[in-house]
Symmetry: C2
Subunit: 327 residues, 2 copies
């Protein structure tokens, strides 16, 4: 099994790479090659299998085709310009999220034609594809009327992936990820950044600002469960997956105030006191448009998982991202 992770230097790409290297297998087959590609060569990972790192800009069609054409069985396409940047730099978002995705799909199509195979392409979409007026909880068959460019580009990518799959060019699977929290590392410019930083910073003794009211409610998944779902996506037989190639991953609806109480139960009062509550109308104007309630019936049926509680998210962060570094 030859596995390629495009966007392998990012937050989820690195976690997925470590998970696959440690297991040494995917979908019951031994991993014989694990290639990580990103704008800069990603940090290599080791385990039962060692990764190989390459630089790739997916806006370069020829380079993308050449890298993919080298031969892979499963391609995780995680590379993206995230929401805030895609909104601020429209043409960059189109080039990476739409054209870049198409270059990846075209590369897989050419590889499949050359090898007589149907490469599996696992594409990370987002709940940003949902927007506007929708029944809630959002059913699997709801229409996509994204209210930001990132969501529109992901939704168009889903449509292409589904059509390439229907044509038999590849075996595409698109997962609409919830907001992944707690994201380790530094705050970024995403409007959702606080949804990780109000836990991440206080759990490390640093202050943080919460720009929304404790009543703000949103749809979440832990990085650990997200990675398990990315792995699970590769194990589902094609017939079981069926003609609908995109699905919303399971998640949990949490109220910010309740998430802070979950942190209190796991880590005591001290971190909670490091949060300063200071509403930011600009951030609120963006995040209040986001959807908080989904009904991911199909994903649950196919065996994808959510976290049991936000306490889990807190514990996973401490176990996966804080304790290893302190050793």
């Amino acid at each position: 099994m030859r596995v390629l992770i495009i966007g392998g230097g990012g937050f989820l790409g690195q976690k997925l790479a470590r998970r696959l290297a440690a297991a040494g297998e995917l979908a019951g087959r031994a991993i014989t090659a694990l290639t990580l590609a990103d704008l800069a060569p990603p940090a290599p990972v080791t385990g039962r299998v060692a990764s190989q790192s390459l630089a790739l800009d997916i806006t370069d069609m020829a380079a993308t085709g050449a890298l993919i054409g080298a031969g892979h069985d499963v391609i995780y396409h995680l590379a993206a310009v995230v929401s805030g940047q895609a909104e601020a730099e429209f043409d960059l978002g189109m080039a990476v999220n739409l054209d870049g995705a198409r270059h990846v799909f075209e590369g897989a199509r050419a590889l499949g034609a050359a090898e007589g195979s149907r490469p599996m392409v696992i594409f990370t979409s987002s709940i940003a594809v949902y927007g506007g007026e929708l029944p809630e909880p959002i059913p699997d068959w709801a229409g996509l009327t994204p209210t930001n460019s990132y969501g529109a580009q992901k939704a168009a990518g889903e449509l292409m992936l589904a059509d390439y799959s229907r044509k038999g060019f590849l075996d595409g699977r698109a997962l609409r990820l919830p907001t992944i929290s707690i994201r380790p590392g530094k705050p970024n410019k995403a409007a959702s950044s606080f949804m990780s930083s109000i836990f991440r910073e206080p759990l490390q003794g640093e202050p943080a600002i919460c720009p929304v009211s404790p009543d703000y409610t949103h749809w979440f998944l832990s990085p650990r469960a997200c990675i398990e779902n990315l792995v699970h996506a590769a194990t589902i037989p094609d017939e079981t997956w069926g003609p609908r190639r995109a699905l919303a991953l399971p998640g949990r609806t949490h109220r910010i105030g309740d998430m802070v109480e979950a942190m209190r139960r796991v880590a005591g009062d001290a971190p909670c006191e490091l949060i300063r509550w200071q509403r930011d109308p600009e951030i609120e104007s963006i995040v209040l448009g986001w959807k908080a309630r989904l009904d991911p019936a199909r994903a649950l049926e196919l065996g994808f998982v959510a976290d049991a509680s936000f306490e889990d998210n807190i514990r996973y962060f401490l176990e996966d991202d804080i304790l290893p570094a302190s050793h």
Copy 2:
């Protein structure tokens, strides 16, 4: 008011051009220029205003930008590779229906930036965007899971048009057209071709084959009502249109057997006897997947219209397409 029709040499493009030339105005403003563009320069039309004809291949980004950049207030984007051909020639469909649409939208964006305007772009989508398992009648907020490449390309075009509109680059309006019947002219290779030819040929004394059972049911609109809706789309204020840029046009659900009886009521027994009923499993396998029942609530609310009965479609064909030619 400067109006451009891309695909102006096609069936609907020519009818729209004649309608606009005859009226001499659109959305209450006098038409000062009416430009028709298509692969070959379209047949010119005259009336209160005379058209100008140009050759344009929308797969050529620079040529598309230059033509649009010459200045227009309303751009009808009707050019497309239709369903059968987009399925058989995948790359051509992607190039015309997806990339071509983007070139048109980019051209309008550049024009808007240069003129300080927000050009109106009216895009003809299709009920081919609907597919798979959907609640019926299909509500306005149903998800798009097209089961053919043409539908996938139209759906992706809708997403881009909505996002370009949200960004303020243009004022986009996408109409999901029902199957337009009766289409004049020659049969084409579309699987839906019989839905016009079993009326068109017999009404002109020629035989025709109906490849489905009289119980086959589908979603229809007459060319005349379609053109009125294309004109109406330009008259609706932006605020009224709202953030959802695409809508399903009204239509009527008809059973083929009932449509033939409608022809009998308008034109007598003779044409009906020219239809040979001979089921074609290949055609049935395609058209049985199409949707027959929609609930176009939003379009009706916005003043778009359907035909009163299929007798209307028959009469319109005789008045608009047969009688003028026999003079």
